[in-house]
Assembly symmetry: C2
Homo-oligomer: 518 residues x 2
Amino acid sequence: MAIKTVKNAAGRTVPLEINGLPVIPYKGVGKHKPEGRKYGPPIPSCSDYPDDGNKVVASLEEALRKCGLKDGMTISTHHHMRDGDLVSNKIFELASSMGVRDLVWLPSASFPCNDPVIKYLADGTINRIEGSMNGPLGRFVSEGKMKGTAVLRSHGGRVQAIQDGEVKIDIAVLAAPSADSFGNAKGTGGTSACGVIGYGKTDSMYADKVIVVTDNLIDLPCFPMEIEGNYVDYVVVVDKIGIPEKIVSGTTQITKSPDRLLIAELTASFLEKSGILKDGVLMQAGAGGTSLAISVFLHEILKKKGWKSKLGFGGSTKYMVKMLEEGQMGYILDAQAFDLDSVSSIERNPNHVPYPVFNAYNYHSKGNITSMMDIMILGATEVDLNFNGNVVTHSDGYLLHGIGGWQNCLHARNVILPVPLFRDRIPVIVDEVTTLCGPGELIDVIITERGIAINPLRQDLIDSVKNSGLPLKTIRELKDEAEKICGKPQKPQFEEDIVAAIKWVDGTVIDVVRKIKT
Amino acid sequence: MAIKTVKNAAGRTVPLEINGLPVIPYKGVGKHKPEGRKYGPPIPSCSDYPDDGNKVVASLEEALRKCGLKDGMTISTHHHMRDGDLVSNKIFELASSMGVRDLVWLPSASFPCNDPVIKYLADGTINRIEGSMNGPLGRFVSEGKMKGTAVLRSHGGRVQAIQDGEVKIDIAVLAAPSADSFGNAKGTGGTSACGVIGYGKTDSMYADKVIVVTDNLIDLPCFPMEIEGNYVDYVVVVDKIGIPEKIVSGTTQITKSPDRLLIAELTASFLEKSGILKDGVLMQAGAGGTSLAISVFLHEILKKKGWKSKLGFGGSTKYMVKMLEEGQMGYILDAQAFDLDSVSSIERNPNHVPYPVFNAYNYHSKGNITSMMDIMILGATEVDLNFNGNVVTHSDGYLLHGIGGWQNCLHARNVILPVPLFRDRIPVIVDEVTTLCGPGELIDVIITERGIAINPLRQDLIDSVKNSGLPLKTIRELKDEAEKICGKPQKPQFEEDIVAAIKWVDGTVIDVVRKIKT
């Protein structure tokens, strides 16, 4: 069946229907005004829950049965167990053995440890994944092997879609490092501590049924209640929800590559010279090796100047924790902790606060914190001459990973992409991104080891550094330079079939990924 | 127009319509199963909110105008400013001057300081109050002078009604002792500190528009975010939101009456001898003089036995704080702080935690904490031979006060009503309560200065104290004794007109209050 397509406001051809549901084509930044009302899950009654508050059932299978697991349901999970997740695969293993088919999996992200679900995608237990897909999973999708069409959303877009009822969660299965028998749950304590579990908050609020799975059942009350027991149907106690050393890194590692260090230095220097870095600055960086180096450089500047960042938004790392502890950062608001230092900081420092993506990233909210961030450090697989960014596919056309918070973060005041000019001899700056994930008007500065390109829309930034001695170039100059070294990369070849839709933060479809031609 | 009436499951005659809206008659405890979905407020978009997160507008009037205040709207407020509230009256003063009519006021409670709204009830600015009404306000309603019909809900019933969409809040105006410009708000800090502002949480989540009014604008981020800025439209900064000495008592006062002290002693003794008081007990008491004395006695027993209450649910007082600080209580979960010691405890003790009624009392939730409480100390204006309780009218038939959390608390394991046998020579135990607020099957023990009556449904409790030496009586014996002293009280006379509906915790109507015959 041929599905009608249309060119959206970004000039990308998108279908008017995905997985049988109508599509709103991307209209431009801030242009789509939502109508209607937030999703209302069924009204529960205390009379259906035990008076003693004890919701513990014997097994995940029993909990799934009690939740009425059946064909076609949408099952959500969060990714706080990261590559140590022992819960998600188990759900589908059980579903498969129960003969349930055509499930939709809505993870907040997936990791290599989730590759075994390929089996359940192949045998029909899972119809599709709406979420990130890396490595073998991405390849499986790119090769057109998934029955349904993938839907990729940003972390905030996932919240938006759940809140708005674009996706309806039948059963949320939320792994919890600590929980009480009522279902109050948190990310600290026990042997599977991950710091925070805020990615599950929206799921708990909007899912019809909620299962908390823990390996550390503690006495009531479990505080802080990152997940509120009032939203929880069943609690399952298992031996292990995760493999500790894969949940958080023992320690996050700064890049050792001289090129990446140069990029980090240039970024810090740019932020200082442009005046973006200032006393009271609000900042967010990532946990990649280059981002960590940038954090360290920025920390040094703050110390030197006697400045203090008002708050940092995490993904937290030990380098942010250091800023907090040494007095160069007022608060860490934390959506996920990347290393052990961060987990322990959350446990003991009252200024290191769990801060769910619900509050940080949801675009269908009465404002959120991303638009207030002065410094936003992001990555990209590709950036094009119009500053458009791609984070989901590589230049070979394969789905590489999810959007994460990337689209949401584009709404910050100053969006800086420190990227290498090329990776494995493939240029990062291209004529046109393979997949459009973020419109160029929101991307302000590209910083490479061979120069800095500022988006012409940000004349203020161009002016701020014009006599700074920084190696300013146009984005075209950067692209030409890369191609001089690497040659012009071959464009990937695609079939017509759409294997994944890329949602914008407002629920519209900004682009699609097509089946790779093999 | 005659509205059809029906006898509900408690045998009370209730109308099938109130304020033009259909009524579900009370069906019995746990019998009404809600259908349908939670209310979905309109979906907002960040594109309509300032990127810098600054939602401060010049005045409450401007905020109300921006919220589109118009005839017939429902305006909600919380009561955390208690008798020092300087915000609620102001709303209606402004509305009146703007020529707006027929508003519905949905406070979480009202206080004597709110009596000035009588003017706006009289001039048509306010159609009706859905909430508690004391003193002159109650008299105004009882005399049939309010245009609409009052709807009285418990604290949890108010949450339920908002969540379920039975009442739709157009504008929530939430006073906040501290708030940042994004609208994150809390109950501590500044000169109007009240400890917690959790009664406003549901309002913020479900109202179409939310205004935070503060006299203490603090730097972002305001933590803890009892009100999340993501739900807030406007922030208004005023000189004073409340009169400090009327917001919380300087100190809560234990009763000095010998009779009340005897009741308190008997209560503590009953709880000890029945085995209800135990190591790990979950308890809740009030802030009345007798309740405070009970707390002190229970504290002494806990200390003597070397026991520790797992948690206390507040309304917190300095006597609970003492238990927490001296090690006889693990946590205080707090919905409102009654005195300065409690406010300061919340500010500094991590085990004294804000705990909104949303989580504590809502019956349309997946369980809540009240059903887990071992000890629940409550009051009543009347109790009848079937252990039914009344808390809203006096025996003279006048509306005296709101339901508060009373109905919600009836779901505790052991509901104890320490009440004097008579007040001002009017017996508390009557043949039949004037207004039915809580069904007798949920009320376990009546403790008076002249004896203890245990509900025959609680044979287990009767057995537990049968050889205890406690002055056990039947409720009829207590009633007869009171009448021997005071004589049989005259029944109040009513007109047919219904002035107030009493909702049960599930949104059904358990009784009504009729116009007083004068």
